[in-house]
Symmetry: C2
Subunit: 148 residues, 2 copies
Amino acid sequence: MSNAVEIPFSTTILVRDTCLCLHVQRAARALARLFDDALRPVGLTNGQFSLMMSLNRPEPPPMGPVATLLAMDQTTLTAALKPLQRRGWVNVTQNAKDKRRRLLSLTPEGKAVLAAAVPIWESTHASLEDALPDGDMGRLRRDLQALA
Amino acid sequence: MSNAVEIPFSTTILVRDTCLCLHVQRAARALARLFDDALRPVGLTNGQFSLMMSLNRPEPPPMGPVATLLAMDQTTLTAALKPLQRRGWVNVTQNAKDKRRRLLSLTPEGKAVLAAAVPIWESTHASLEDALPDGDMGRLRRDLQALA
DNA sequence: CTAATTTCTATTGATATCAATGTAATTAGT
DNA sequence: ACTAATTACATTGATATCAATAGAAATTAG
């Protein structure tokens, strides 16, 4: 027989107030909503914007490095590409030199959508800087980078 | 006819390096994996741990305030509760005084699972503090809170 | 005291996320 | 060259996330 287990309420308060994972997930959801709302007129989510922006390179990258850059699982990237391919914004082609690799590139339509999104990103991000104490933005980014 | 649109590569670099939303999503994914891995032995994800911990209260809370605390959509909370109910770790009952409301509470089994998870959380979180420069943890939390 | 409004939650459909697993292509070891 | 190990990616199944919508219960306006 197992005794009844009681976690002290003080432990709950401690976790609630100090858990960095919780705080980051909370902020991630809030920021996702903020950018999703702002980008909705051009038909992009925050994640799609970041992904497509990371594909705007002189040379089309393969999937692995893109997944690493975004700190996401490779299978997540595979799934995330599908709606973008379906809309004709991203092309996925095979690398002739190494047939395991896929090369990811933006279509002209994809570039147009992304270009329309840039000013939205700029204004949204600017409003975000106002929400943080002066100078915290840079340090915040460095701290976040230390976690990823 | 539409001209070809070219977003300067420098813009891509700027967004990649400065976008707070991207940085937070990256950190959120990395921390989620870290805690998911650590909590796997007790059968919890980071989100389930945070949710269940937020239910460890003297009085069972309704859904609205819990969703607000976690900064998540109410429909997300409804979905997140389902696997926990199915496993018999969380009870969802009706409030007799206001039949619209559901009261969320942990079962004894749920409390036992949560109790087993607490030491895992403690050690994982401690290792996390080592990854950050001294004193950054508190300020990081405050900055994140300003965003949510 | 009824009707309109507000509050609280559930359902549906789409995308996001990851673990586990499988497969094809390349590389390394012999 | 042949086999073993590695690399790069896809598929499946489960959970997470939110918008849009709908429903029921409670509150408020009149």
